[in-house]
């Protein structure tokens, strides 16, 4: 019973690993540096249609077109920066998960700092009240 279960699990895992490596099959590279660059770009670039995922994790037609384009560019020897610039020129900063610093994104950029300052002041107030309390008790 257990053996059966484990062999089934093993098969499932092996198959999932095979499918995770799919890009290598569809996009063959002779140069391993290029291949690494291609795979890391797919992880860093965002799918413009399905906005929650990167190119690697998306199978939308536009994501596949962009993968092919990235493949073509990397294979022709472009650097990571050049590929990114190429896509930013067409799809905007959005595609590299790099939002611009503008009034409508202030909350995004400054929010964490704001929360940090609030937290810090809360901690300070708590510490100060404790400190003055213990002083008062002495």
């Amino acid at each position: 019973m257990f053996k059966k279960f484990f062999s089934l699990m093993l098969i499932t895992i092996i198959y999932s690993l095979v499918s995770a490596n799919e890009p290598k099959v569809i996009y063959p590279f002779e140069d391993s540096v290029h291949e690494e660059r291609f795979l890391s770009l797919l992880n860093e670039l965002r799918c413009p249609k399905c906005q929650g995922s990167n190119l690697a994790g998306s199978n939308a037609p536009i994501a596949n077109d962009l993968k092919r384009e990235v493949y073509r560019l990397v294979k022709s020897g472009r650097t990571e920066e050049e590929v990114k610039t190429y896509l930013i020129d067409r799809y905007g900063n959005f595609i590299v998960y790099d939002p611009p610093f503008r009034p409508d994104t202030y909350a995004l950029w400054l929010g964490p700092l704001f929360i940090f300052l609030i937290t810090l002041s809360i901690i300070l107030v708590i510490l100060l009240t404790r400190f003055s309390n213990s002083k008062g008790n002495q």
Binding site: K49, D65, I88, Y91
Partner: protein
């Protein structure tokens, strides 16, 4: 004072819930186009109507114009089709089609059955020009002014309302000059 402080985490949590929930339901379908205020990109692609007719940027010469990205597999394109026909009949504006990742025969059949609002359609089966235009889903519509500069982009069906809000002003502007 201490009581208020004790309630703070709850208050912060409450605010976070409201803010994050409002972002969750907010549709963020409209991406700004970086192509706005830039020239129409160069291209070399066949015409939908005739594979031997190779079109380029200079073929898009009746300006101002709309470039409409469409396909037979795209449902919202059917929705906007009557409005494009209306534009063709009523206005002086030229509408160019960019037939996007489509089947030539299906596309031609559709135009024959439902009317052809386009001056011509560029046949972009690989989505080459579409990538240069930053297209991420059909339908998309670009307004090109008489200098050949893209002024506006709309993602989604082009309706009377969208036309009034986003595009009509450019037409008036062009007529004034």
């Amino acid at each position: 004072m201490k009581r208020i402080l004790n309630l703070m985490p709850l208050v912060v949590f409450g605010i976070l819930v409201v803010v994050l929930y409002s972002f969750l339901t907010q549709e963020n379908e409209q991406l700004e186009s970086v192509l706005v205020d830039q020239l129409v990109p160069e291209f070399k692609l066949p015409a939908l109507e005739n594979p031997n007719n190779i079109l380029s940027k200079s073929s898009v010469n009746k300006l101002p114009a709309l470039i409409n990205v469409w396909a037979t597999w795209c449902i919202a394109c059917r929705v906007e089709h009557p409005f494009l026909m209306q534009l063709k009949n009523k206005s002086t504006l030229t509408v160019y089609g960019l037939n996007y990742k489509d089947d030539r025969k299906k596309a031609l059949d559709l135009l024959e059955n439902e009317g052809n609002p386009f001056e011509f359609s560029i046949f972009d089966q690989q989505g080459k020009l579409a990538i240069d235009l930053g297209v991420y889903g059909a339908p998309e519509t670009f307004f090109v002014d008489k200098e050949g500069i893209i002024r506006e982009r709309h993602v989604g069906a082009l309706t009377q309302k969208v036309w009034k809000e986003k595009f009509e002003k450019f037409l008036n502007e062009d007529n004034d000059v």
